[in-house]
């Protein structure tokens, strides 16, 4: 049979035509679409029983109660708030909502690591066992102590208040070293101001929920993920239209946008405004005359212990230097505006001046803190039932008394910055071993070069971090702690809160990796050293230690456990009665473990323990910090104009670091969920944006988005320009929380670290203040 070509082609065409009518190809296409959804790289989460565990977040000082949702009891899929908590009412911040991204972070350190190559070489970290790591370290610590060099052990720990602070102090006291330091925080200044004026070394606390008029000097009350839980709770209690918030700062921040009034002062001049308002109040007699006459020392001229007559606060503040006209010139406000604010502040019965809330990383100079205190003193806010009290202590069981190991060495002046300075400038090596716990100073210490320089002279750095952060990457030994949600921990009070607060954080799951609770590592090290050190840390687990502390709280029979959100915790008044609703330690522990917080009413302002027995505006005890022949003003609150280092001609602008809405700027880096939210006017690709006022940008001839070089005395970095009307003219604003160089590539290579460019001014009394530094911008 002759098929022929035409017949063949017809047959072939027919076959193709036929196949188009067949459903097979379409069925195959549909099947492949469905089956390709099962490609191997598609994650397929396992189903199972869903359970909830209540706990408390310890990623910052806010103390938010949380609930973790678990599947099959072995993996966590969500961190959400606990609606039973009266302070947070079920809310959490973006960091906690992203919390599992730290729990399951790819950059977690899974076991102890020893650096076998040179410092900073990530490839040099070799895993070792806990036994090996702790026995080796224990031997070193024992030898150091036996050689009489206990003070060569130092530690930098978190400023978040918890029972770990007391355990560290116990260890260090028993070991014989005074060199235990916390990362700087705004509470440092509040504590120092309280110590000088009231004689009590507890930070000031503010009854924000009970105030009707809040004059906030630069406080980041509502800035994004860094917002204070106390401020947010207070905001919900304020009456719309009745409660007035006045924000004083240079940048038009979120808090300023929310405020009823924004007073745009030149950077760093907030305290000058406070003095100006005080001037108006004193000259018009609109201050609490009775309180000042009966309870304040140093308002009138006074005589010091050497018999010298000195000017009092009244004389100082009444000078023309603090008149509204002069203050207006330096702050950039109007004299009439200043008089108006002073009149309102003086006139409202429940007016409160607040500062240092919601700014964990920066402080204000001590004299400025005293100026804000003085304003409140004039208002009569420091009475026993006033709007300002001291941070209340939580009556947990105290730790057993420690036998001191010989005479403790004198504590270096100036806190952590003083330590770093003494390490760098000393001819010898004052610190042999440095511990770092729940802190990342190489990144988050303002002017972190100081840490880097000091570290070069420290032979051994031990990091307890769970993450390969900047500081851990430089460690010689890493003893990874359990992460925040897999360890026993507690929230011991909330900085700035007038009410008392305590909550226990329980693990939501068993630890995922071969990590160890740092508290337990300390217990093991203490036991290894033995003697009085071992005897001072007698607990076998951190849970046992917390139970011990909670026993004391139960015995004190003060405060109550909140199992429902039916207490308006920010409205509790000083001395208000709160009925205990727990019996013994076991009962209280059970309630706390269930995720409930303990709270108590604010404590009334205690008796003043100053040399005069009164609230001191003339700080007699300050003579130890300043020269005895110092001018009168150094005993008083006053405005201390700072001479910033650097050549003003070369660095004509001011650089101020600010906290943008969607970054995390503390121990934890910004997780991917939050990075996604950062606007492209703050971060674009690898470039961070600075904010510049339109006039400043025009003068420098910069356009929107232009890449420029930012230079300070600390170094240079490339940034892009965002022309924005939030900015005060002449000031460059740089966001914090960016510029990490560790962790992983979701975190790295995004912007620049503000702490590497900022410079810290050291107060005469030794706390570091970070408000601005000189800067220069030029085209690249």
């Amino acid at each position: 049979m002759n098929f022929g070509r035409r017949a063949f082609l017809q047959f072939a065409a027919g076959a193709v035509g036929g196949s188009l009518l067949s459903p097979l190809p379409w069925q195959l296409a549909g099947d492949s679409a469905r089956w390709s959804q099962n490609w191997s790289w598609r994650a397929s989460p396992e189903r199972g029983e869903v359970t909830k565990v209540s706990s408390v977040c310890t990623m910052c000082e806010g103390g938010c109660a949380i609930q973790a949702r678990l599947v099959n009891g072995n993996r966590a899929i969500l961190i959400e708030g606990n609606p039973a908590n009266p302070l947070t009412e079920g809310g959490v911040c973006a960091l906690a909502a992203s919390g599992l991204q730290f729990f399951y972070a790819p950059y977690r350190i899974s076991k102890p690591m020893k650096q076998q190559k040179s410092r900073g070489d990530i490839s040099g970290f070799q895993p070792i066992s806990w036994d090996e790591a702790l026995s080796e370290l224990g031997k070193k610590l024992g030898k150091l102590r036996a050689d009489g060099k206990s003070q060569e052990l130092a530690a930098i720990i978190s400023h978040r208040p918890s029972s770990m602070d007391d355990l560290w102090l116990q260890f260090f006291t028993a070991y014989g070293s005074p060199n235990l330091f916390r990362m700087p925080s705004a509470a440092d200044g509040l504590k120092l101001a309280a110590k000088f004026t009231t004689g009590n070394a507890q930070p000031f606390a503010f009854a924000l929920g009970n105030a009707e008029y809040i004059l906030s000097f630069g406080s980041n009350l509502f800035e994004g993920a860094g917002a204070s839980t106390v401020a947010l709770a207070a905001m919900r209690q304020w009456t719309k239209g009745a409660t007035k918030l006045v924000q004083v700062e240079s940048r038009c921040s979120m808090t300023a946008s929310k405020a009823d009034q924004f007073l745009p002062v030149n950077p760093g001049k907030e305290a000058l405004l406070a003095m100006g308002i005080a001037h108006v109040m004193v000259s018009s007699g609109t201050y609490d005359v009775d309180f000042v006459k009966n309870n304040v020392f140093g308002f009138e001229d006074w005589t010091d212990s050497a018999g010298k007559k000195r000017q009092g606060f009244k004389g100082l503040v009444s000078s023309s230097a603090y008149s509204p006209e002069e203050v207006a010139k330096a702050t950039g406000l109007d004299a009439a505006q200043i008089r108006e604010v002073a009149k309102e502040f003086a006139g409202k019965p429940k007016a409160l001046a607040v500062w240092a809330i919601g700014q964990p990383d920066s402080t204000n100079g001590i004299y400025h803190q005293l100026a804000f205190t003085a304003l409140n003193a004039l208002k009569g806010n420091l009475k026993p039932n006033g709007l300002i009290t001291l941070s209340p202590s939580v009556p947990l069981a105290g730790l057993p008394p420690v036998e001191k190991n010989g005479a403790a060495q004198k504590e270096p002046q100036g806190g952590l910055y003083g330590l770093l300075d003494s390490i760098t400038t000393a001819k010898n090596q004052p610190v042999e071993i440095l511990f770092v716990h729940e802190a990342n100073p190489l990144y988050s210490l303002p002017e972190n070069k100081l840490f880097r320089d000091a570290l070069a002279k420290v032979p051994m750095l031990v990091s307890f971090s769970s993450y390969m952060d900047e500081t851990a990457a430089q460690a010689d030994l890493i003893l990874p702690n359990h992460t925040a949600f897999e360890r026993y921990d507690d929230v011991l009070g909330i900085p700035g809160a007038a009410f008392s607060y305590y909550a226990v954080s329980v693990p939501i799951l068993k630890p995922l990796q071969d990590t160890k609770h740092t508290g337990e590592a300390l217990m093991t090290l203490a036991a290894g050293i033995g003697g009085t050190v071992g005897a001072s840390l007698p607990w076998k687990s951190y849970e046992e230690y917390l139970k011990f502390r909670v026993d004391g709280l139960a015995q004190a029979q003060k405060g109550a456990v909140a199992e429902k959100p039916d207490v308006r915790i920010v409205k509790l008044a000083a001395g208000q009665s709160v009925q205990p609703n727990f019996s013994n330690g076991a009962d209280l522990w059970k309630k706390l473990k269930a995720g409930n917080c303990w709270y108590d009413a604010p404590a009334a302002m205690p008796d003043f323990e100053t040399p005069s027995g009164k609230l001191e505006l003339a700080i007699q005890s300050i003579v130890q910090k300043v020269a005895s022949d110092a001018a009168d003003k150094y005993y008083l609150p006053h405005f201390e104009d700072r001479n910033l280092p650097g050549n003003e001609g070369d660095l004509p602008l001011l650089l101020v670091a600010y906290r943008p809405s969607f970054t995390a700027a503390g121990f934890y880096p910004t997780p991917p969920f939050m990075t996604k939210l950062i606007p492209d006017s703050v971060l674009k690709g690898a470039d961070a944006f600075i904010e510049l006022h339109p006039d400043t940008a025009a003068k420098l001839e910069f356009s929107q988005g232009e890449l420029v070089s930012l230079k300070t005395t600390q170094g240079e970095a490339n940034v892009r320009v965002n022309i924005s009307a939030v900015a005060h003219p002449g000031v460059v604003y740089l966001p914090t929380g960016l510029g990490h160089e560790a962790y992983d590539n979701y975190v790295q290579n995004k912007g620049v670290n503000a702490n590497s460019l900022m410079e810290v001014q050291l107060d005469p009394v030794g706390i570091g203040t970070v408000w601005a530094c000189r800067a220069q911008l030029r085209r690249v």
């Binding site: 959804q37 599992l100 939210l677 005060h728």
Partner: protein, 240 residues
């Protein structure tokens, strides 16, 4: 849903909680906001004035689940009925396997509430453990958007069945409303006149965005600031 913009501090907890609850993927570089997947976006508004009279605010924007008669703008244009509105609960749903990725719904949505999966997303291996089994992960080529945490509604209804109560009368809260630390987001049944959300939606300061388009969004905002209300492009001077 009612969102109180006076309380909102722009912290992003709502968006972070939404991402955690709904298995939302993330990329190494999220600078290109046109490619970012945010079911709950946070818009930044400002009053356009110069320093120091400049003010800004944040506006969290989930899907509006538009209640316009018969169809929402997006459900109207879908060629394969992958997105439909459930008239029992008002939620505009999206069936991922049915979606052919034409992105017509994205064009139609006046609120830019929909995002497209341009890639098959992967998570860093350890983070796969935090994926919720109650929400499907999406493959490349499909559109996704806020579902008012539909899975939470189903869980609440299942629980009601088990408990013997009326599933149609259950309430639940989506992840965003749960998380907000300023307690700015209220959620509930707008049709129940006794609910908090219904009462708040009648607040004299309550408004909706782009009302003039007659999309009838289910998300209301409250603000005492006139400049914010003006920005909502609400051309109606009084409620009609």
């Amino acid at each position: 849903m009612v969102i109180d913009l006076d309380r909102c501090t722009g912290c992003g907890a709502c968006s972070a909680a939404c991402q955690a609850e709904n298995n939302i993927s993330f990329r190494l570089d999220e600078s290109n906001k046109l490619r970012s997947i945010t079911w709950m976006s946070i818009f930044q508004l400002n009053n356009g004035r110069n320093y120091p009279d400049y003010r800004y605010a944040f506006l969290p924007r989930p899907c509006m689940h538009c209640d316009s008669p018969h169809h929402s703008p997006c459900t109207f244009v879908c060629p394969v009925n992958a997105t439909t509105r459930d008239e029992n609960n008002g939620i505009v749903t999206h069936i991922y396997p049915r979606c052919i990725g034409c992105r017509y719904c994205m064009v139609a949505c006046p609120y830019h509430a929909r995002d497209f999966n341009w890639w098959d997303h992967t998570w860093p291996k350890p983070m796969e453990a935090m994926l919720s089994p109650d929400v499907s992960t999406r493959m490349r080529g499909v559109v996704e958007k806020c579902t008012f945490c539909h899975q939470r509604m189903l869980a609440a209804r299942s629980k009601a069945y088990k408990d013997g109560t009326d599933p149609d009368k259950t309430t639940y809260t989506p992840a965003c409303a749960d998380a907000c630390p300023a307690r700015a987001i209220t959620f509930g049944n707008l049709r129940d006149p006794h609910s908090d959300v219904a009462k708040l939606s009648k607040d004299p300061n309550a408004f909706r965005i782009l009302e003039k388009l007659h999309t009838d969004p289910k998300v209301y905002y409250i603000s005492t600031q006139d400049w914010i209300k003006k920005l909502s492009d609400n051309a109606l001077t009084e409620k009609s």
